[in-house]
Amino acid sequence: MSELVIEGLEIEYGRNVVVHGLDLRVESGEFVSLLGPSGSGKTSVLRAIGGYQAPSEGSIAIAGRDVTDVPPQGRDVGMVFQSLVLFPHMSVLRNVEFGLRTRKVRQPERRRRAMETLEMMQIAHLSERLPFQLSGGQQQRVALARALVVRPSLLLMDEPLGALDARLRLQMQVEIRALQHATGVTTIFVTHDQQEAMAMSDRVVVMRDGRIADQGGPEGLYREPRDRFTAEFMGLTSLLPVDVVRPAGDGARVRLAGTAHEFDATGSADPAGGEPTFVSLRPEDIHCTTQPVDGALTGKVMARTFRGVNTFVQVRVGDQTVLALQHRGQSLSEGAEVFVSWDAARARLVAGDAP
């Protein structure tokens, strides 16, 4: 059953329309990320689901019940805000008990359930502390516990990890995902960080200018983006301008613009609206070798960036620059002449103007 059904959602601030006729279904137990740059409308959609933003058109149904006109109090939704907003004058325990109190859960049941949730988050020993006595990660857990303790049908999270440092962020990503698996709560997670969205979600919904640009599983979106925007937003990529020679199979034969070099690519060969077409290549799919390879382009290493876990090289090919991952055991130095090749299956045809 769909836990959340959004149909034709429109949101305006004054005369400014920020969400245009959005449709979205989220299945029970699913973890869905709304991913997009700032101003893409992702937070507005989340606020509308929580009941904090009245839509100008469209409907929202949670667990089969139309809640379009229901205030936040009646929606059975747990929300974790970007700024967490723990109640500063209440202990951790009282913060977590807050939603149980409003639901008229009496003591000792109330305390038992709150402590149970705190134990699940491994912060039971902090129950008597005030929020300001907690570290960022601990506050994060309290905010989650406060939202989850009432067992909402839907958990909404608005960039909750934004304030954490990189290391803690990774750890919390893993923890939140594990917790979501354990509780099975349907979750909608708003973020502008594509790595975070890919690492945590069952499904990523990419938003742009108040519309859904693309959606799918993290790998599908990364490997087979629908258009140039998604290709660039879902991670590092090199875009090579091409002309379509002829459709071939489920892809096309293309020619690198300004050259006679032809190769195969996957994806739609027939972009709408005559937008410029490109081949998108992920850095790990580009092979740079010092030995000649059949059908390879020749290039020159312009720059080398060591990142610890891997090393990137920028290679000049004709009048284009591609970004490639240096493969294991390789050592490409700046200025080296290399042969650049890729698997045809990994060359993805995308269309679109520069964002």
Partner: protein
Amino acid sequence: MRGAMTSRRVLRIGVLPLALFYVFFFLLPALQFLRSSLYDSSESTDDGASLTNYRRALGSESVLDSLATTLGIALVTAVVSLLLAYLIAYHVVRGPAWLSRLIMVAALSSLFASAIARALGWRVLLADSGPLNDLLLALGVVDEPVRLINNTIAVTVGMVHVQVPIIMLALIPVIEAVPREMERAAYGLGESRWRTFLRVHLPLTWMNAVPIGLIAVMATAAYFTTPALLGGGRVLVLPILIQQAAQVLFDYATAATLAAILSIVIVAIACVVLVFTRWRRTIRERGHA
């Protein structure tokens, strides 16, 4: 850096004329006036400073009655005004733009009206044959006009009217200091608006409202016009006694004594309240996320 130094120096020099003006035209005359409270007015022989005037004043039942009336009106006014102003300021901060604009215009225009005009307005409204009594009679709540004027209630109503707009303006930043998402979090957890106000907003902000309430207490206790006009000579607050002593009886020593007593009592109340509420703990210090 150098610019900051220069502007600080300019500021320091610029403050000087004001400070001198304050010392010569307020502080010195005030001290001179208060000094006269230490010299006995009834004896012609000058035998040095003593607390005779204070002993006499504090032994007088009418002075103690007056002190109690003054403080009573001031406290009730401050509490009622704080509650009303809190609700109004909340709507200015959180309500729709048209409502907050309307309230601001109403509050500011009432501040521009003179205290005398406002008090006389209440005299008309509260008169025996005034609109309020007409309404009560028409509704059958009472059979004959109720005495609404020339008593403590009338003075308190008038004082609340004076204080509410001022307190409301002072409370706006206090309420704005609570992030909107704090309320949203409470709504999302199923709490009603009214109970969110009681359980989240009030506990977070009341400490910052305490000094504002104290200002209302002090300003009310020192107010002369409203008690004089709405009390009809029956509500003898200390400022009225001081005025009578100074301008009717020309007894400056007594006037000074009463003024000193009023000041000391108010300062003492302020100290006690501030110490007990530790109002300096701001929301941020209390660990606002």
